[in-house]
């Protein structure tokens, strides 16, 4: 395995694969905080150059985080299809990139080789891609999933209605749901981040959302994004949950910091299959985001892009209905400015799609980042072009509970209108029945939440 290269008259010798992986990344404040980032552009391109020549078997044979030490590594390793891997093991990362971008590699070819790729290999390919590469590659992949309805079809952009309330007041949550529905959002999920992590509170919210769905016959799915154990308690107490949610990290100890492990996810998986209220066969909602492992000091010296890819390797085990990278939530110490956020959003979306996952993106930022709403407009359009399965809809993009900004119900309508995209077919039919949408356009009553009162 060659870890040495010459760039612009200077020789670079990298210590190990970890260093190559980290330094091949585009600039991120999180890698800098971890002390593993490239010192300058020259070193960055040297690392990319070394990485491009490494073979897929080099990557597999030199695990960044050995399977014997980490259960996420084990899940990823066990998920690899040996036959397919053998076909491509001698490819360099450069060849992998070129294959993925080639015209020969269509949706089904990409889905096939995906089964032979580890999360680290997919991460490696992302490191060699420009933003437009990431968009071009991802746009070829359509991962369609079905919970109560199907989303992810070509030409479809779905949206989560995220109607959070700072004190979990059920009426306030309901009000924001009405607002979102009236703008044609809500086909991905009606999903609430609760403030109060108790089974009672989760159950109240699930009951209310189910009631709204039943009353108006809305073809969608509900979810309350409490800790998985709280949701499990609520479900066992009879709460109607179409999906079960959990945030994931890319390492075992990262997940431990979230209070989960694979055994717990397996248990939750069994429970939602037995006692969930939806049609299936996809019952999970996962969230991820670059930097969470470092913030839990569980990154093992591995860069945040690779750790993020490993989250998808874990997510893939459970055939989720939706996976969402909450790209700008974690703060400036991981993604400092709009450049970094936009890059990370495109990387995550691509890597998730390459894992065969139904990727969505919370195009978002906090107020202490060097980002504003214009940057969100940009990333939203870029991801719409890249074929993102869904984005997040929050009233005027301002989440009054989590105190950050995402994309608005207006933004989703605009992404659809500008990019020629539609809501999920079943949901669009319902919007037409309600008189909110006609021929893919919002009608005169769209935007009036009182039509649901």
């Amino acid at each position: 395995m060659n870890l040495k290269t010459r760039v612009l008259g200077e020789t670079y010798q990298f210590r190990d694969l970890k260093e190559v992986f980290a330094k091949a990344n585009e600039e991120k404040s999180g890698d800098q905080l971890a002390g593993i980032a490239a010192g300058d552009s020259r070193e960055r391109v040297a690392a990319k150059q070394v990485l491009s020549d490494l073979t897929l078997s080099d990557i597999r044979n030199h695990p960044l985080l050995p399977a014997e030490n980490d259960e996420v590594s084990r899940v990823i390793e066990e998920g690899i299809n040996e036959k397919i891997f053998r076909e491509i093991q001698n490819w360099s990362v450069a060849e992998l990139r070129e294959y993925i971008l080639s015209h020969e590699a269509t949706d089904s070819e990409l889905k096939r080789i995906s089964r032979g790729l580890s999360s680290e290999m997919i991460a490696a390919s992302a490191k060699l891609m420009s933003n437009l590469d990431l968009i071009t590659a991802a746009a070829k992949i359509r991962n369609i999933t079905h919970c109560n309805i199907a989303i992810g079809q070509p030409g479809v952009l779905a949206a989560r209605v995220q109607p959070n309330h700072p004190a979990d007041h059920v009426q306030g949550i309901k009000a924001a749901i009405y607002e979102g529905l009236s703008y044609g959002s809500g086909d991905a999920v009606i999903g609430i981040n609760p403030v109060i992590d108790t089974a009672d509170s989760v159950k109240d919210i699930l009951l209310m959302t189910k009631e709204v769905m039943n009353k108006w016959d809305i073809p969608t799915q509900n979810c309350v994004l409490a800790h998985v154990t709280t949701q499990m308690r609520a479900i066992r107490q009879g709460a109607p949950a179409d999906m079960i949610f959990q945030s994931l990290a890319g390492s075992e100890d990262g997940n431990r910091a979230f209070g989960i492990d694979v055994a717990l996810l397996d248990e939750a998986d069994e429970l939602i299959r037995k006692e969930g209220t939806s049609t299936g066969p996809n019952y999970w909602y996962f969230e991820t985001g670059q930097g969470s492992e470092l913030s839990a000091e569980a990154h093992h010296g591995i860069d945040q892009l690779t750790m993020e890819s490993r989250c998808y390797g874990l997510a893939r085990k459970y055939n989720p209905f939706i996976v969402n990278t909450v790209v700008g939530f974690i703060g400036p110490e991981y993604l400092y400015d709009s450049r970094q956020v936009i890059r990370a959003g495109l990387e995550d979306h691509y890597m998730g799609k390459m894992h065969g996952l139904p990727m969505g993106c919370d195009v978002c930022y906090t107020n202490h980042m060097k980002v504003d709403q214009n940057d969100m407009d940009n990333l939203g359009i870029l991801l719409s072009a890249a074929g993102v399965n869904f984005v997040i809809g929050v009233a005027m993009a301002d989440d009054v509970m989590l105190n950050y900004q995402s994309t608005s119900f207006h933004d989703i309508a605009a992404f659809r209108e500008v990019m020629g995209l539609r809501p999920a077919p079943a949901f669009e039919k319902w919007l037409e029945k309600m008189g909110i949408m006609e021929n893919g356009k919002l009608t005169a009553i769209a935007g009036d939440p009182t039509i649901f009162m």
């Binding site: 004190a167 979990d168 403030v195 109060i196 992590d197 108790t198 009672d200 509170s201 009162m453």
Partner: protein, 486 residues
């Protein structure tokens, strides 16, 4: 603490029947671990319901307190509950019974014999509300986001409550009930309540004690009585039907979407038809006929609302009293546990606009005048004269808090120097801060009880229970009057 169960009991001594229930209420934390604690009653479970006893009487109209006590003792034993476990609940002496001469005696006796819990002696308004809650009308009004009326018809009175979107907005009580006319199997009438004579006359109907009534005569009275009550509630006619109203008349006509009838007579609506006087008089009164006629009206006549089945009939009031009477205060409060429980405090309200609270001159005037009013109404004694409810403050800065505390403490010490305890109820979450500010000024003379997040109005009475887990105070607000609002 995540959650806690408390036991609550309801006892309903009615004109014709007496029953009790034991329930348990679950207090759950409804705040995040990063917020000030806030608890709510998140679940109410019925644990035990007694059989329906005939209310024991001595002679014609005196409740046999001793026998009621014996029934309760027996029922507590059957329910497997000791008195010390009961943390809350309500006793209701309903219908005509409440105006019987020994009602007060009964209440005191029950207070002793039903555990050291919060005891409510109610007026007809509260009974109607509790019965409506027990019958499920409140929940229903929330579900349909509209107006739902429940009438609980027992032996002596019919208590109607209007719920709009979960909130009781009006009550009215009728002299409509089974035991208003009593008779034997031959139709010999032994009693006609004087409360209905003027209505009978106005309707051109007649029935008197000592006479013998026919089946047709009783049928007509029951039918007319049913119609009058419904005419009144729907606003169709209130001149004559108003003669059946006990106490306050309703000022407005409130459009009703759904309507249910609970109580003993509500249960009789579904009984087998009564075909002759023997069947009519099987309880010694005309209740079965009243039930039958209400059912007939329901089936054959058109009133502008949907009839629905109540969740409870004969036990609606007792279930409401046991399961729905208790609220809890905000969880950051200032109390002295050994001073609780405190029962039957009248509410005095200091309700000012936001700007008035901020205006020191106005604040001083208002605090003075509200205490003067309190002094005139309740006198000055060592007891707690009233609970002062503060309303309209909104956001309270530390500076404002100090001014309010100073005014309230100074004036209280001036007007109620003998009183050992001052009780204050705040609308918004500020009880601990205000309690502490008052405490630092009064230093135990008087002691301070300051709770919050309980809605009270003029004319309410309030009972404060013993604290649960140190800071959660069960509260029973006895609303005796309603503003009518549509």
């Amino acid at each position: 603490m995540e959650e806690q169960w408390i036991k609550s009991v309801g006892i309903d001594v009615g004109t014709s029947t007496t029953k009790m229930i034991v329930s348990r209420l679950r207090l759950g934390r409804m705040s995040s671990t990063f917020s000030l604690p806030r608890f709510q009653i998140v679940e109410r479970q019925l644990l035990y319901a007694s059989p329906v006893y005939t209310t024991p009487l001595i002679g014609f109209d005196e409740i046999d307190a001793e026998r009621i006590g014996a029934i309760l003792k027996d029922e507590y034993q059957k329910a497997g509950i000791s008195l010390s476990e009961i943390k809350s609940g309500a006793v209701i002496i309903t219908g005509e019974t409440a105006s019987k001469k020994n009602a007060q005696h009964i209440v005191h006796l029950l207070a002793e014999r039903s555990g050291d819990f919060v005891v409510a002696t109610a007026g007809a308004d509260l009974e109607g509300v509790l019965a409506g809650k027990g019958a499920g009308a409140q929940k229903r009004s929330q579900a349909i986001a509209g107006n739902v009326v429940n009438v609980d018809i027992g032996g002596g009175t019919a208590n109607a409550v209007f719920f709009y979107r979960g909130k009781a907005i009006a009550t009215v009580t009728f002299h409509v009930g089974g035991r208003l006319i009593r008779l034997d199997e031959r139709g010999a009438v032994s009693y006609v309540s004087p409360n209905i004579t003027s209505w009978l006359t106005a309707k051109g109907l007649s029935v008197r004690a000592g006479e013998t009534a026919t089946y047709a005569q009783l049928q007509e009275i029951a039918l007319q009585m049913s119609r009058s009550m419904l005419d009144y509630l729907s606003g169709r006619e209130r001149q004559i039907s108003g003669l059946l109203v006990s106490g306050q008349q309703m000022q407005e006509v409130i459009p009703v979407e759904e309507f249910s009838i609970s109580g003993g007579v509500g249960a009789l609506m579904h009984a087998d038809p009564v075909r002759d006087l023997t069947e009519v008089s099987r309880y010694g009164d005309f209740g079965p006929m009243l039930g039958q006629m209400l059912q007939q009206v329901r089936e054959r006549e058109t009133y502008p609302f949907r009839w629905i089945e109540p969740e409870q009939t004969v036990r609606a009031t007792v279930i409401g009293a046991g399961m729905q009477s208790t609220e809890i205060s905000g969880s950051t409060v200032h109390i002295k546990p050994e001073l609780l429980p405190i029962k039957n405090l009248p509410i005095l309200k200091l309700e000012l606009a936001r700007e008035e609270w901020e205006n020191p001159v106005r604040l001083h005037q208002e605090a003075t005048s509200v205490y003067e009013l309190g002094l005139r109404l309740f006198g000055s004694s060592t007891a707690i004269p009233f609970a002062l409810a503060l309303s309209g403050i909104g956001y309270c800065s530390y500076a404002l808090l100090q001014r309010i505390a100073q005014e309230l403490a100074d004036a209280y010490k001036r007007y109620f120097s003998e009183s050992k305890t001052m009780v204050v109820i705040c609308e918004t979450d500020m009880a601990k801060a205000l309690g502490q500010a008052l405490f630092l000024r009064c230093k135990g003379a008087p002691e301070i009880i300051c709770i919050d997040q309980v809605r009270v109005e003029y004319g309410d009475y309030i009972d404060l229970g013993e604290p649960i887990s140190g800071t959660i105070i069960p509260v029973v607000v006895k609303t005796l009057a309603f503003d009518e609002r549509a």
